[in-house]
């Protein structure tokens, strides 16, 4: 293993440790039983099958949104539209679930396809505005999030709301649309397989095909892309469609995998988490899986901590913030890296 890779591992490890120490210090101040608190936060998610299941369940949508966002980021598009797509595609999937009754396999496929299709259309629009008129994708995507939420909430409230439950929830979906649970004792569903498969395909697409090459080069230097003869407009559109399809798939999979009705009364936040995941993963598809699992793990750990101890649930956010800050600090431990590089250079002489 080369120095840089080894360093990355050491750095991540130390960063997590330090942020945990800071977290511990805060916990010490806020809790009467800091040790068990820490236990619940760090260890307990891995102590029960059910908890590990929770981690994976939570990671599934994060993988989708992280993947979608990293494709956009790689293309040089700062598009945060996955959030709105997640919400609306989820709603569409639930409508398919409510309105249709198909044989077991076609029903979820139809729901996912419709979700993806919606994602593709939305992202295509954002990408088109960007490519054609250079309209800020950040602004448009943020606005689209709110717009689709508003429209979705309207559709839900006026057409699909079940008046016989207390929240603004849709009618129950037909069971045929639900994704199968694949690991007994957990709620992990076939969405996991779809997610992993998607990661693999996206990896191949980005790093092993000419279209992926075009996306990455355009993202790194648009002028180079143009110079090379790439149709940068087309490239942006392809990347947007792909990202939209994945985000839409994520929304649909989450709803038919984890819910029996459509229950989101606000934007679910899973799409925004995609930006976080993409950054932590440095936009690399493979890393997305680990970043998603990592984030899911600390969130479940924090939930358990809040559930089992006297630590208020807000601590979750504080700890998350600290961990993100340290882990992403590139210069963190730079001195150590230089020393080991120097040693390596000396050894080679």
């Amino acid at each position: 293993m080369n120095v840089e890779k080894r360093f990355e591992i050491v750095r991540t490890f130390v960063a997590v440790t330090i942020s945990l120490l800071i977290g511990f210090a805060i916990i010490l101040f806020a809790s009467d039983e800091p040790l068990s608190t820490l236990y619940y936060f760090i260890i307990s998610p891995s102590t029960k099958m059910r908890y590990l299941g929770n981690v994976v369940e939570l990671a599934i949508p994060l993988i989708f949104s992280g993947l979608a966002t990293s494709i956009l980021f790689q293309t040089g598009l700062f598009n945060l539209g996955s959030e709105g797509v997640f919400y609306f595609s989820g709603l569409l999937a639930s409508i398919i679930g409510i309105k249709f009754s198909l044989s077991f396999i076609f029903h979820p496929i139809l729901a996912i396809l419709i979700g993806s299709l919606f994602g593709m259309i939305v992202m295509l629009l954002i990408g088109f505005f960007k490519a054609k008129w250079n309209a800020s994708e950040l602004v448009i995507s943020l606005m689209f999030n709110s717009i689709f939420f508003g429209i979705g909430a309207y559709i839900l409230n006026f057409y699909f709301r079940d008046p016989n439950v207390s929240g603004v929830y849709s009618f129950k979906m037909n069971e045929s649309v639900f994704l199968n649970k694949i690991i007994p004792g957990t709620r992990i569903h076939t969405g996991l397989i779809i997610a992993l498969l998607t990661v693999f395909l996206v990896y191949l697409f980005l790093y092993r095909t000419r279209w992926g090459y075009e996306i990455r080069m355009t993202g790194l230097n648009k002028r180079f892309g143009k110079y090379t003869g790439m149709n940068t407009t087309k490239v942006i559109l392809i990347a947007s469609i792909l990202a939209g399809a994945i985000a839409g798939m994520g929304g649909a999979v989450e709803i038919i995998g984890m819910y029996d009705r459509f229950k989101w009364s606000a934007l679910p936040g899973l799409g925004f988490d995609g930006a976080l995941i993409a950054m932590l993963a440095k936009n690399k598809p493979k890393n997305v899986i680990f970043a998603a699992l990592f984030l899911a793990y600390i969130r479940i750990g924090a939930d358990l901590m809040a559930r089992m101890t006297d630590i208020p649930s807000e601590m979750v956010y504080i700890l998350q913030a600290i961990i993100i800050l340290f882990i992403s600090g590139k210069k963190f431990l730079e001195g150590y890296k230089e020393k080991s590089l120097l040693k390596e250079v000396k050894n080679n002489e």
Binding site: I140, Y154, P312, S328, K330
Partner: protein, 306 residues
């Protein structure tokens, strides 16, 4: 429909547009400065929230609205400084850092509020102070104009002064020149001895101060208490306004006003009985349309040029 236009073309409507715009404008100007220095501050939403609480806490414990305001600004400054430390010194990705600040603010404000008041919802039990509304001498007596311009919260006037201040800073002063150079070509700035760390830090800190003012406006001007999540997406709207304004002071100001007006309009439209879910999208739809018109025109102009 008549009554609808009656409500739009009133001084009340313009007055409320200015009020709605104020917090957005503060944050958008903050976003502008930090963006110009090449370190976008995604944490504005969280910083506003923390400052809103900071203002309430400082004013409640000192009994002075002014100290409360200083407190809010200080909280903004410190949060931005922490963000700056991580992004400049430890090279944390600036976007990630901003996301982290937002997370921290979400949890931290409620944590502190609970610690201080035993309540996770509002600070209304704290005797916090408010910043005064100001009647402008002479102007207040001018018909219509007086109704629109006079009688705003003092921070609204601060915001207006800051528009000019930021323009002056960026376009007339050495600091502004350096901020822009660092944002556009940091190597160039470095090569003439500009301390890019210092400039970036300054820009970040200023953006924090501005967001701090925005936060203070929310909890000490708009209403007189802090309540959880009260920045309610204004930090994000501000980022959008800055991006829409294409990094110019004038553009940022106009975009902020567009957001403010659209929001004020949506409040008024509620009276028409349109489903509230659909009304809620009006400001965003207006933005998309405005932005597209602008972008299309711009593209045409550029095409002509080539």
């Amino acid at each position: 429909m008549n009554s609808f236009f009656d409500t739009i073309f009133t001084s009340d409507f313009v007055f409320s547009t200015i009020r709605v715009t104020t917090p957005i404008l503060f944050a958008a100007l903050g976003a502008l400065i930090s963006n110009k220095a090449g370190s976008p501050n995604i944490g504005l939403e969280g910083i506003m929230l923390m400052s809103a609480l900071g203002g309430v806490v400082f004013s409640a414990y000192t009994g002075s609205a002014f100290i409360g305001l200083l407190g809010a600004v200080l909280v903004g400054l410190i949060s931005a400084s922490i963000l700056a430390y991580f992004t400049l010194k430890l090279k944390t990705d600036v976007i990630l850092g901003g996301i982290a600040i937002n997370f921290f603010a979400d949890g931290g404000t409620i944590f502190l509020l609970y610690y201080l008041t035993g309540d996770k919802g509002t600070s209304s039990s704290l005797p916090s102070k408010v910043l005064p509304n100001i009647d402008l001498p002479i102007i207040q007596n001018i018909p219509v104009l007086g109704d629109i311009i006079s009688g705003h919260n003092i921070l609204t006037y601060v915001a207006i002064i800051l528009i000019i201040g930021v323009w002056y800073l960026l376009n007339k002063t050495a600091t502004g020149l350096r901020i822009k150079s660092v944002g556009e070509n940091e190597d160039a700035a470095k090569s003439v001895g500009v301390n890019i760390m210092k400039v970036r830090y300054l820009a970040m800190a200023l953006s924090g101060v501005f967001a701090g003012l925005g936060g203070a406006f929310l909890s000490m001007g708009y209403v007189s208490w802090f309540s959880r999540g009260m920045s309610a997406g204004r930090g994000w709207i501000a980022l959008a306004a800055e991006a829409m304004g294409r990094g110019t002071v004038l553009g940022t100001t106009l975009s902020s006003i567009l957001f403010g007006a659209a929001d004020a309009l949506s409040n008024t439209l509620q009276l028409l009985g349109i489903p509230s879910e659909l009304i809620s999208i009006i400001p965003y739809l207006a933005t998309v349309i405005g932005l597209l018109i602008y972008a299309i025109n711009n593209t045409k102009k550029r095409k002509l040029k080539e």
